[in-house]
Amino acid sequence: MSLESYLSISALLFAMGLIMFISRRNSVAILMAVELIINAAAINFVAFSRFVPSAEARLDGQVFAIFIILLAAAEAVVALAIVLALYKEKKHIQADQLVGLHG
């Protein structure tokens, strides 16, 4: 399979994530959307490291993907904790109503 096919799949995944991110009002759904977007990016990294590797650093793309996965894990943990704390506070997690910072 060619590089473009992987990139196309990742582009579609990215677009779906974006659509979900913008249109959903539930905070957990928004987090899922972020996971989709992050995965799309990680696919790109790995695909490039396979098809367009640099001579001396063949595995750099994979290492970056590992970092991405770890960052996503950290982000998910903190974000979900925030969502839960918010839920306890407000009894809902509708992102469009969480506008407390808006003057």
């Binding site: 974006l18 991110f21 913008i22 249109s23 959903r24 009002r25 928004i30 992102a95 469009d96 506008v99 910072l101 808006h102």
Partner: protein, 700 residues
């Protein structure tokens, strides 16, 4: 790297460390390790700084006079084209004296503060601010360029604000802090304007600016040839800087904040509002003496302001009953003396008075603080009396400092004040001398009035307070005693020639601060003549007899007023009451008691018009604008009613269509401002796509 170069940077940095540590962890330290550890931690850094400062001074004495200006560059700070500001400390005789005053008195007051702030819940915060103040003040004093000086200048202003409003839960304290801050801002504007002018013309004339004092001094000759809007540039710059000094050093008309600043804890009043910060203006003029030497008209203006301040605040001091307010007005008055000295070109005399004043005024304030604590935070002198028996160390120290401030022969105030009066007479005018002379008598009067009302006579406080009143702990009274001893003896540093001394202090300062030996105007003429190649003759007349006469006169006069105070407040209160019952005496007293109604005057002339303006604008908005709108509405309503009858069917559609389009458009745009992250991101991505696509289509 000599000893001095390696030591001096630590002098300001150590208190800064102290401030940071106490500011960040002070509460933890206070809660876990207790008050004593916190206090010792707070005192430690100033103490080390003081040791370093004094050791550097003794090293300095062994340096030969020509090499006593030591610059200690640390690093670059601002480098923009030709504008290059560096972090450089400047250690020279002037700054060495200043850092000894700041760290020495600062250390004593920190130790005193441990006793004074005992059991205060914000104990740690106090020491953090005080350390920060010391760091800023040392920065101000040691800075080699105007920008560093300004940094310290603002830093001390900030600390002053924080410490005046230290007990901010009471509104009066918070208001006093704000007042000090705002009045100081007016002065700082002057300072900034002066600095900007200096930068502008330096870069025009020389192409590069570093604002260091050495550089400015070497360029001052060329700058004196320049005019600014028809005025000599140096006069304008000097005036701007003096406005800055007026704010910081509480000169008329910007002195109003200082008496109110007494709302802060007494150690603060002693350190910041008597000994160090308020003298920053004097220091600044001393530092820039080369500029002021060439600006005789500004010096004339300074002498006018200084004489007025000196006299007016002394008279106010006579009629105050709050012990700290008396000392506050006394401080304003003494600052007037310093500026008087500066204005007649006796820069070293001004700096010397700064030194002696720092000693005796700090002692007086600390003594008053000790009294206030002993009396459970009562400050009204009418409820004091007879305290000398209860508090001997505080009392005698206070009296010693009072001897110094009145100018009792051979005390420090005697030498410094006499020097200033003499210079005012010989280099200024007899009028200036007369004003200073009268004010000296008034000073002696109100100080002895204070002493007699507080420490002598009958006890006027209530039984309970009197029972509990006792001498303060050692950590409070020992610093007072040390400063009192200093206040008595420090004058011997600068015994003038006609009394058989060598003016050692003036000699020591001479590498960086040179006095004018003639009046400023003549001096300026001499500079001009020299520039034009004319020969200048300076006259040397023997004035010894005149000096003796003036000295004896002022000593006699201060003794006389001290006697008056004794007579009216100790010996024969009835006589006082008899005089005070007179109509005119009462009127004068009320005016003095109300401080010439200056605050009310400001309220009326400055604040009320501003408030009125606000009200007027609000009313304008309400009446005129709303009226216009309503009228337009009225007009529109009737017009449309009239037209509506005629073409209801035709126009209505269009009108509604317009309204609908605006409504929909408004709704459409309102979501851009919804503060919802999703909308924002969605919109920005759409815009991003549009930008990219149009870029590709039209450019790529």
């Amino acid at each position: 790297m000599t000893y001095i170069q390696s030591v001096i940077p630590w002098v300001p940095i150590l208190p800064l460390f102290g401030a940071i540590i106490l500011g960040l962890f002070g509460k933890k330290i206070y809660d876990t390790l207790g008050e004593n550890v916190t206090g010792i931690l707070g005192c430690l850094t100033p103490m080390i700084s003081a040791i370093l400062a004094f050791s550097a001074f003794f090293k300095m004495l062994s340096v030969e006079t020509g090499n006593r200006i030591i610059q200690i560059p640390l690093t670059e700070w601002i480098t923009v084209a030709d504008f290059q500001i560096e972090w450089t400390f400047r250690y020279d005789p002037l700054s060495s004296v200043m850092i000894m005053i700041v760290t020495g008195i600062g250390t004593l007051i920190h130790i005193y503060g441990m006793g004074y702030m005992h059991k205060d819940q914000s104990f740690w915060r106090f020491f953090s601010y005080m350390n920060l103040f010391l760091a800023s003040m040392l920065m101000l004093v040691l800075g080699d360029n105007l920008i560093m000086m300004f940094l310290g200048w603002e830093g001390v202003g900030l600390c002053s604000y924080l410490l005046i409003g230290f007990w901010f839960s009471e509104e009066a304290n918070a208001v006093a802090g704000k007042k000090a801050f705002i009045v100081n801002r007016i002065g700082d504007l002057g300072f900034l304007a002066g600095m900007f002018l200096m930068i502008m013309y330096s870069s025009q004339l020389f192409g590069n600016v570093s604002l260091s004092f050495g550089e400015m001094q070497s360029r001052i000759g060329d700058l004196s040839q320049v005019t600014f809007w028809g005025f000599p540039l140096l006069e304008v710059i000097g005036l701007c800087f003096f406005i800055g000094a007026m704010g910081k050093s509480a000169q008329i008309p910007l002195y109003v904040w200082l008496p109110d600043a007494m709302a802060g804890p007494t150690p603060v009043s002693a350190l910041i509002h008597a000994a160090t910060m308020v003298t920053a203006g004097v220091y600044m003029m001393g530092r820039m003496y080369f500029l002021y030497s060439l600006a005789p008209h500004v010096l004339g203006f300074v002498s006018l302001i200084a004489a007025l301040t000196c006299f007016i605040s002394a008279t106010i001091g006579m009629a105050q009953f709050d012990i700290k307010k008396v000392l506050a007005y006394s401080t304003v008055s003494q600052l007037g003396y310093m500026f008087l000295a500066m204005s007649v070109g006796a820069f070293s005399a001004g700096i010397f008075h700064l030194l002696t004043h720092a000693a005796f005024k700090a002692a007086l304030f600390m003594g008053s603080g000790s009294v206030i604590v002993a009396l459970h935070h009562k400050q009204d002198m009418r409820n004091m009396g007879g305290l000398l028996k209860k508090m001997p160390i505080t009392g005698w120290s206070f009296i010693a400092a009072t001897f110094a401030i009145m100018g009792f022969p051979l005390t420090s105030g005697f030498f410094s004040k006499d020097e200033i009066l003499w210079k005012a007479f010989i280099q200024g005018s007899p009028t200036l001398w007369l004003v200073g002379f009268i004010a000296a008598g008034i000073t002696s009067f109100y100080m002895w009035r204070l002493v007699f009302m507080t420490f002598f006579g009958e006890n006027r406080s209530d039984e309970h307070t009197w029972e509990h009143c006792k001498e303060q702990p050692k950590r409070t009274v020992i610093p007072i005693a040390i400063l009192a001893i200093a206040a008595i003896t420090i004058g011997f540093l600068n015994v003038p020639h006609f009394l058989g001394g060598h003016s050692n202090f003036t000699e020591y300062l001479s590498p960086v601060v040179k006095d004018l030996s003639i009046t400023p105007a003549e001096h300026y003429q001499n500079v001009l003549d020299t520039a034009q190649g004319k020969v200048v003759h300076e006259s040397h007349v023997d004035h010894t007899a005149l000096e003796w006469t003036l000295m004896v006169a002022s000593v006699a006069w201060t003794f006389f007023t001290a006697f008056l105070a004794w007579f009216f407040y100790m010996k024969n209160p009835k006589a006082r009451e008899y005089i005070m019952s007179g109509v005119w005496a009462q009127k004068i007293f009320i005016i003095l008691y109300n401080k010439y109604y200056v605050d009310e005057f400001y309220e009326m002339v400055v604040l009320t018009p501003i408030r009125k303006l606000f009200l007027f604008l609000a009313a304008f908005d309400q009446m005129v604008v709303d009226g216009l709108v309503n009228f337009a509405g009225f007009l529109g309503r009737h017009l449309s009613a009239f037209i509506g009858l005629f073409d209801q069917n035709i126009v209505d559609g269009a009108v509604n269509g317009t309204a609908w389009s605006f409504q929909t458009g408004g709704k459409g745009f309102s979501f851009l401002q919804s503060s919802k992250i999703q909308t924002v991101i969605g919109t920005s991505i759409v815009i991003f796509i549009i930008v990219i696509v149009s870029f590709i289509l039209y450019i790529g």
